[in-house]
Symmetry: C2
Subunit: 226 residues, 2 copies
DNA sequence: ACAGATTCCTCACACTGTTCAGATTAATCC
DNA sequence: GGATTAATCTGAACAGTGTGAGGAATCTGT
């Protein structure tokens, strides 16, 4: 095996087993989803005894979380690439440009979910261990060792642009975050789980329509009662 | 404990093992989610050998699907009850009443998700076995042995009402289905997985806001380009 | 009452995550 | 540089899982 010797502290015996385990996890999760994250199979890929992983992760669940975080980073990178690709085609009208940008963020989100369903499920499939009991101790802030931007960042940026051009009131940003997030995440889950038989064109149409409705709702004049 | 067993142990045959297995599955899924559907534990509850289940279900996955369908029925029942409870408080204005009804359907959906997270995940957590490979043989139409109405029905009804009062164009119904479904499902997942620390009031506010944005988007005048 | 088909049980197998005691090796101290 | 120490990896083992094969108990139709 050709292991590299990174110069930093992290490399001891195997080269960098921790990173190798996460990388193997990404490979398995890519086609197989979170269910494919089996400790013994990961160790088999890396070429190490199953128990060796316990030097770096206290339990398989922790390893899964690390893989999920990496997957979230990959998702953000893919979204960033998507947004860069369409950045040149923005309308001149700033309000329309801001709306277009929000739509593109949503499209990028759903597109990643449909393109990499295994990684998407791994990244976003929260609570893989069961039900969170109300009285349980809050899980640690779960240190983020991947400092790449997260998908959430792009949404915040899109909404900030809407605020800048006056299409969204600043105090409505929080509501808009939730509504937008729910829409794109719900779309992704629906298209993956419930409507897999749709063609790509049909799925794109569904996404476009839903995002149109979302932006219309976000930028519509608010009711008096609210 | 003494549910379906006509005679506790005298009878070698269990009265209705299939139903008992599903019932035990519901019990386990209620607090524990789909992950808690463990064959041997289900059999233990019913008081039968693990393999006895194979006389009624070819595999655990099939049993899980049966439990999921039952859970979907329970969800629909809960939604129905919720809708009945608020039916008397509808506004006089028919357009406003239709909008209110749609919001209540959404509220009922999310409310069930938050009230019975285990059953909700079991009912709606599609693809629990992994990734659906494109070339794989399509799973059977999965015969529906639970003829109670499904959650989807209430959404269709709400949108039909919006069409009736002229707030939604009939040809936009399909788009509205997807957008509404995505919103409520995304809301449920978000509130369960990503924002469990919110108080009930905060969650309710999030739901109300998102549904307001949705209805605003659905009933807003459509753009020329569409 | 008998034959056949269900229904259920016992035994067994290949997996899984995880633990414990030891072997091996890299980093550090004198 | 050599010895010590601590991190890293391995082997065997345990409890638990889903599932298969074959046999015992019971129900059903004739």
């Amino acid at each position: 095996m050709a292991e590299k010797r990174p110069r930093t502290r992290a490399t001891y015996h195997h080269g960098d087993l921790r990173a190798a385990l996460v990388a193997a996890g990404i490979t398995l999760a890519r086609d197989g989803g979170p269910q494919a994250l089996v400790l013994r199979e990961i160790a088999r890929i890396v070429g190490v005894a199953p128990n060796s992983a316990y030097a770096h992760f206290t339990t398989l669940t922790v390893l899964k979380k690390a893989v999920a975080q990496r997957a979230r980073g990959d998702m953000a990178a893919a979204m960033s690439a998507h947004l860069d690709a369409v950045a040149s085609a923005e309308p001149d009208d700033p309000q329309e440009a801001a709306r277009t940008y929000l739509r593109e963020v949503g499209r990028a989100y759903v597109h990643y979910a449909l393109t990499e369903p295994g990684l998407f499920r791994t990244a976003m499939g929260g609570d893989p261990t069961g039900i969170r009991v109300p009285g349980a101790p809050d899980d640690a802030p779960e240190a983020d060792d991947d400092d790449r931007p997260k998908p959430r960042f792009f949404l915040m940026h899109a909404l900030a642009r809407l605020v800048d051009v006056g299409s969204l009131r600043p105090e409505d940003t929080d509501r808009a975050v939730m509504a937008s997030w729910a829409t794109v995440h719900g779309l992704s889950i629906m298209l993956l789980d419930l409507l897999p038989q749709l063609t790509t064109d049909q799925k794109n149409a569904v996404v476009d329509d839903a995002l149109d409705i979302l932006t219309a709702g976000l930028t519509a004049p608010r009711k008096i009662g609210e």
